[in-house]
């Protein structure tokens, strides 16, 4: 775009908030999604609500797109400006406005880092459970926009389950507040829940109220090692069918275990076919009882060894190692393409078997890890973007994996969002009528399609 465009933006907001050099445009052209890069025309760092309002009004006058961005750690391309325009960065709006320990809620600006929120509330013996893999740098605004999950999803739910109220700026710069701090609130349509997971296509969040829960009193962490990945998958279904919901139930296959061990060197055995990381938390009596059931379920499914973490440090090491899984997988090949399918838990063994079969058929390397406890798997292709033939085979393999997930009653995305990466598969999953309805809703809020264009809806060609 032209110079006058950025200089007018600078006049409006002050030059320190506007970035537009060649290097800056490049560094805001991507997030953590592979093979995805589109440059914006300018970047604005919002410091307050007034900045958000000014940017949206300016973009309306100029008729240009606005893509909201937190720390840019998304895995479906949600913060990548596909059609250029302004990237609106909210990381500088990072105040925890209020922790209400009387009524168990916290009010935050969208740029608060997830892990910082964790430590702030845990210091008061409170708990905010959603813990996406990128929590050390991801922002709450981004978590809400993508409805991020995490390791504790199966027992505690995901980001959306904790959102009580959102202040949102609409595309024309006007502001609405949906929701309250009340546990019960059925006034009108539940627009708060609707806004969660809209990936920046409906509005820009400026303030978010989240529900808190009491911090669990105690926990036990197990590491279960298997010689067959299917046995590990069966253990998951067994634990659930015996009416125990652990706070964490994570799976890593052999490729993942090896990459993680290469980086973390915490002594994970490299020869296992799969491992499960299991944690139960809560009242000590309940934890003890659940630990017994977990142990029995592991033994019933040919576990090779079952170890319990002896200290908080040992347990933290295991969790950190699991959170590193995706990035650690990247060390083995130049390009890492991961997916986010989710299936009903009894179908996990069948899904894992298919992934293994497809990897063999297309001669590609797939490392699988994920939140097996909630059926959310991350089959990750380790490939090389320069090898076009292999990239083609990777896409073919994913087609089959997606179809299988859908046929098992699962979904194409459990927690990463649709974005650009999965928009192609959305119609297949929800059908044309549902897409049409979604488009009509989008048009109500954003008739000219300027808020994060190119996301969720398949691009029409």
């Amino acid at each position: 775009m032209n110079k006058t465009f950025t200089s007018r933006l600078e006049e409006l907001l002050g030059s320190r908030k506007v970035l537009s050099s060649e290097s800056e445009l490049l560094c805001y052209s991507y997030d953590a999604t592979p093979l995805t890069s589109f440059k914006p025309d300018a970047i604005v760092r919002a410091y307050n609500e007034e900045d958000i309002q000014k940017v949206l009004e300016f973009a309306t006058q100029e008729n240009i797109p606005v893509t909201t961005r937190g720390s840019g750690t998304g895995l479906s391309g949600g913060s990548v400006p596909v059609k250029g325009g302004i990237v609106l960065v909210t990381t500088a709006m990072n105040k925890i406005v209020e922790i209400d320990s009387e009524d168990l809620s916290v009010t935050v600006e969208p740029g608060v880092i997830t892990a910082n929120l964790h430590s702030a509330v845990e210091a008061l013996d409170l708990f905010y459970p959603p813990d996406p893999g990128s929590m050390k740098i991801s922002t709450i605004g981004g978590n809400v926009a993508e409805n991020a999950g995490g390791l504790r999803g199966l027992k505690y739910g995901i980001t959306g389950d904790y959102v009580m109220s959102i202040d949102t700026f609409l595309v024309d710069g006007s502001k609405v507040r949906y929701g309250t701090k009340c546990v019960k609130d059925v006034a009108g349509y539940n627009m708060t829940k609707f806004l969660v997971g809209t990936e920046g296509t409906i509005g820009v969040f400026s303030k978010i109220v989240l529900k808190l829960v009491p911090k669990p009193k105690t926990k036990k962490t197990f590491l279960a090692l298997y010689d067959d990945v299917i046995d590990a998958a069966r253990t998951v279904s067994t634990i659930i069918s015996r009416k125990v919901i652990p706070s964490t139930l994570e799976l890593m296959d052999q490729s993942t275990v090896n990459c993680v061990e290469d980086y973390s060197q915490i002594g994970l055995p490299r020869d296992v076919a799969a491992l499960l990381l299991i944690e139960t938390d809560g009242h000590p009596a309940v934890v003890a009882e659940e630990a017994n059931v977990i142990e029995e379920a592991c033994k019933a499914n040919n576990v090779r060894t079952l170890k319990m973490a002896r200290s908080k440090q040992e347990s933290d090491e295991l969790f950190t190692a699991r959170r590193m899984a995706l990035s650690a997988l990247a060390r083995s090949k130049p390009t890492t393409i991961l997916e986010d399918i989710t299936v009903p838990r009894p179908a996990i063994p069948e899904m894992m078997a298919l992934i293994r079969e497809v990897a063999g058929k297309f001669k590609i390397l797939i490392g699988t890890f994920g939140h097996a406890g909630d059926g959310n798997l991350h089959p990750t292709c380790l490939t090389d973007e320069r090898d076009l033939d292999e990239i083609h085979r990777v896409h073919e393999a994913y087609e089959i994996i997606f179809d299988k997930a859908i046929s098992l009653g699962g979904t194409i995305s459990g927690e990463h969002g649709t974005g650009i990466a999965k928009s192609k598969y959305l119609p297949r999953m929800v059908g044309p009528k549902a897409i049409e309805l979604m488009r009509r809703i989008k048009a109500c809020f954003d008739p000219t399609g300027r808020l994060n264009p190119g996301k969720i809806f398949p691009i029409e060609r």
Binding site: L19, S23, L26, T91, I137
Partner: protein
Amino acid sequence: MRKHLNPDDIALALSTLDVHDYGDVLQCMRCGLCLPTCPTYRTDGVETQSPRGRVALIKAVIDGKMKASEEFVDHIYHCLDCRNCQTVCPAGVRAGELVLEARYRIEENRTQPLIKKFLLNYAILDQKRLAKLLAPLKIYQISGLQALVRKYDILKLISDDLQFMEALSPKLPAHPLSEQIPEEIPALGVERGRVGFFLGCAMNLIFADTSRATIDNLNRAGFRVIVPKEIQCCGTPNIAEGERKIYREMAENTIRIFADRRVDYVVTDCAACGSELKTYREIFRKNPTFSGKAEEFSNKVRDVSEFLDSVWTPDIKLGPAPEIACFHDPCHLRHGQKLTSPQRNLLNRIPQLDYRELPDEGQCCGSAGIYNITHRNRSMKILQSKIEAIEKTKAQTVISSNPGCLMQLSYGAAHWNKAWNIVHISEVLNRSLRAGEKTG
């Protein structure tokens, strides 16, 4: 800004870069795990000031998608080279080393200013030359001129930067350590081995008393200490500024000097020197005639804490130090040499020392060679965070083991009015050893 920059030449030089040597630029999957650890991302909050941003910029220039402009070059020099990003990257991308490689390619392709040539290609080759360069500063301090200047803020009238550099300058010893000690100092008690001591420039010329304590600690642990006086700089300043020719010459020279002395170990009390000496093996890896010698040399190099922690016997007598203390990890120790436990093991052995961990341990203090002069504003913001972190521990004694960190922390303490005792770990250990001897 310097002229004579040819973007095309730089791009060409970068295009030949063997990215596979750096954990493969392509391997950066842009997950962003490096962002919260990067000091410049923490101060500036923008992607261009982050490791993944720097990797993306270098990749764009290599791929011909972006020019190697003045802006690009500036970004390459914004990195402090703390290597925290390399410690945390699960994919094994060596973003810090990649930045140094880019600097080298840049400097090969632009004219070097005279002052830089003088310092990196001449002054640094001989510590006596460096000592002469510092002479005016010494006269200035001894003559009482310093007291007058500081009292009346005279330098502020001339230049704010000059005043800052004056405030940063430490009190110099009367003579460099190399002029105070013999070349060989025998062990106390039964001799357990021969240790070559690498006397770094800053330690020799500024922290002479500290290195004297280091040598005494080594003697007391049962080692004969050999201090070659003809030693040159380790080359860290050259590498940081993209200079490699003189660097290699000095490295070769250092390796030969210690090989001639037939030492069992090479110990240094400067974290930056230690980190550099340990990488000599990488520098000469592709040189068939010298790679063996370089490998042998680097294998012998130990940081002073690393060495003492491995040789101190359980019966060593230590006197009490009833104070609250914290340790600031120099980046060259924690991220460069991946050493975190030896210094803690040693300090925890001192009776009555209340050792406390710094919040956000592993964060740079902003010294980073001459970064505090070349990028003063950002360096001061980074330092302020460090000062605040130290404050939280309520420490009375702030311990570190790198001259740059010690100077930066001392400046910070004076600037923010903190009455801390800022000291090298060698001096803390020496005091405790001497006290232990008296009581024992």
